[in-house]
Every structure is written in C-alpha cells, then in structure tokens.
Amino acid sequence: MATTKLGFVVQRPPYRSENPKLALTHAIASQSVEVYLEDGDIVTCDIAFVGDGVLNCLKDQKAADHYGLTSTETQVKMALLLDINVLICKEDLDRFGLSEDDIVIDAEEFGADIEAKVVPYAEIAAMMEESKHLLFF
C-alpha cells in the first residue's frame, strides 16, 4: 500500500490557452486512478494557482454565457467537491488587487466539504517540496 503525491501548478491565465483546464481535468482525474493500481495504492494531488494562474479562480465567470464552456471557476469548485487541496497564492492575488471576496473559496452549492486556501507562496513551495512529482501547466 503506497501513496504517490502529485503537485499541479497552474501559472497561466484562463481562456488564453488550454493549460489551466488540462491541469484541472488531470487533477480531477486523480479521483478515479485506482482502477489502474493495486488495491490500497493511491495517487493524491494538490493544485496550486500562482502568478497569472490565480485568475482561474475568479468568481462570476461568464464562460458558459459567452462561449458555451464550463468555466475554470466551475472546475475549481468540482475540484473542491472531490476533496482536492486547492491553494491560491496570496501575493499574486494582492498583485492583481484581488481579495478572497473575488475568488472561489467554497463550493457549498455543489456539496463540497472543503474550501480553497489562500496562502503565502511559502506554503505553495512547501507543497511542491512534499510532492513526488510536479506538473506545471
């Protein structure tokens, strides 16, 4: 029985490229990975938004209205629903003049029990150090 911890780091803004969505969909896929593993072996993941990547967590995105797309906001909420640890860099939010009121913190309407955490970059660096493999998007 073993656990492999992955760290996803999203640096790019939403909608400019596919990368943030790929990060979120791959992180969400960690919830069904057991079908490929031995009993008891698991893969866990944390996902951190840094730099321009924090913009993926903005509230009230209109991607569905304008593009007919699932927004990155909804995907972050899905990640919370699946108990994925979501970290958002405080210094980068500050850089954009954003506060916790502007971003996704919980997904109560989806039934999520956990919340996203706004943390100093040092905590994200610690998460990266704890991860066996880091996946940058």
């Binding site: 992955l6 593993l37 893969v43 996946l135």
Partner: protein, 119 residues
C-alpha cells in the same frame, strides 16, 4: 533501470516540443529505461493516422513507430482526441487511448515524470 513517464501537451506542428519528447524517449529507451508517453491537449494530434510527411514540417510517425517497436508505450488522451476529431478508427496503430487517470496511474511508480509543453 528506471521508469520515466512523459506527459506532452504541445502540438506537433507549431512547436518542436514533441520532437524533443520523442528524441528524449528514444534516448531513455536506449539506456534501458521503461518509458510511458502520454499525449494530451494538442499533443494528441501526433496519434492521428495517415499524416502526410512534408519536408518542411515535422513528422514523427516513423520514429514513433520505431520506438514503439522497442517498447515505448504511447497513450493518447481519449477526450482530447475526440474533441479534435481523432477517433479510434483514425488513431495510429499501436497507440492506446485512455482517460486522464491512466497518466496519473503511470506516475504512481515512475522514478521521474517529465511534463513537457502546452501552448
């Protein structure tokens, strides 16, 4: 010998990341390592069958087939492929199609994971 898992997300035409990825996979195989190659996002275009090779554009079908014959395991993201119109019947022979959890499972016992590209 170890296991290397490479996830590539870059397009075939438009960047040289896939070319680098294939060369790197080949070098690792030559060293005796096991290599899993995951193609996702725009990189899934490498898995489409019957691509026409032009001298002025990158074409990786031949080297990829040679490496698969040497043991390279290539898997394309099924959802990313379907989104781009690459279906099972026009997927390059020998390339598997799986969902994203396959990639994460491959990382489980990998000694190194290299995540390459994206646009």
């Amino acid at each position: 010998m170890g296991k290397l898992t490479i996830g590539c997300f870059s397009s075939l035409v438009g960047s040289m990341n896939l070319d680098f990825t294939v060369k790197l996979a080949g070098a690792a195989l030559e060293k005796g390592h096991k290599v899993d190659l995951w193609l996702s996002g725009n990189a899934t275009m490498m898995s489409i069958d019957k691509q026409r090779a032009f001298k002025d554009y990158s074409s990786l079908e031949k080297p990829l087939k040679e490496l698969m014959a040497k043991g390279l395991k290539v898997t394309a993201c099924e959802a990313c492929a379907e989104a781009r119109g690459y279906h099972k019947d026009n997927t390059l022979e020998g390339v598997d199609r799986k969902s994203m959890d396959w990639y994460l499972a491959s990382t489980f016992d990998a000694d190194k994971v290299l995540h390459i590209g994206g646009e």
